[in-house]
Subunit: 154 residues, 2 copies
């Protein structure tokens, strides 16, 4: 069996995220969902992707608890795809991807939109990593520790 290697059992949380989100279209589907897209046909026309792939991805995202299907809402007897809290929790990931493009893309003039604070209409600040006490952290200021085992004693 050759199969694409799965990261499912991997102990690295990044690999585990990619197991659910790392497929070619998944994050773009979630992006559309965050914009309010709910219907199959709407995803399909906005993303311009093949319907079979969309079908497979939607099912995978539902299986991973990122989307859930709801029966209707606009009268028609079809179903729609709604983000779960877990799905909405991907927002920082999308913001990080967006900001990385904005900062490093070779052709930033081709980027059509900017993410702004709705109240002021001003661009949002870059995501910052901070310590518990609020100190700003750079990558070099961080390190990995083994996860403390959850106590099993009484």
């Amino acid at each position: 069996m050759v199969k694409r290697t799965s990261f499912e059992g991997d102990s690295c949380p990044i690999a585990r995220s990619l197991e659910a989100l790392g497929d070619w279209w998944s994050l773009l589907i979630i992006r559309e969902a965050l914009f309010g897209v709910r219907r199959f046909g709407e995803f399909q026309s906005k993303l311009g992707m093949a319907k079979n792939i969309l079908s497979a991805r939607l099912r995978s995202l539902v299986d991973h608890g990122i989307l859930e299907t709801a029966p209707a809402s606009d009268g028609s007897a079809y179903q729609e795809y709604l983000l779960t809290p877990k799905g909405r929790g991907t927002f920082p990931i999308l913001v990080a991807l967006r900001q990385w493009s904005e900062a490093f893309d070779d052709h930033p003039e081709e980027i059509a939109t900017i993410l702004v604070d709705r109240a002021k209409g001003r661009p949002v600040k870059k995501l910052e990593m901070r310590a518990e006490d609020g100190r700003l952290l750079s990558p070099a200021d961080t390190t990995l520790k083994p996860r403390p085992a959850r106590r099993r004693s009484a």
Copy 2:
């Protein structure tokens, strides 16, 4: 011609990021690089991936300006792969992926490591989205605006 659809010309910055980072192994390679991995064989043994795929990904990451090849460093006449500033700029993306796993994974007990502040040994805070003036923003507090055209007048 069938070919995987490319997001290269897409105006969405998220799609543009995924064009460079969205391949199945790319972010894990970058994760290792951020940990200090530099050599082909070291990537290969740590990630357990096929050498041909690693070779293709490394080349792609170099082409995208995320990694660069340097001639030596440890005496041997081989080359090594170093992160560029653009590559190091992916750190928030990896942190966002990690935190999403930590927050929403169905089996968080399988996650082996936690990212901590090196100085205090305490977990880093969750990434926060803030307005220019420092107000904390939720997804609903943000919206997209068309990018203001760069003035071409004299």
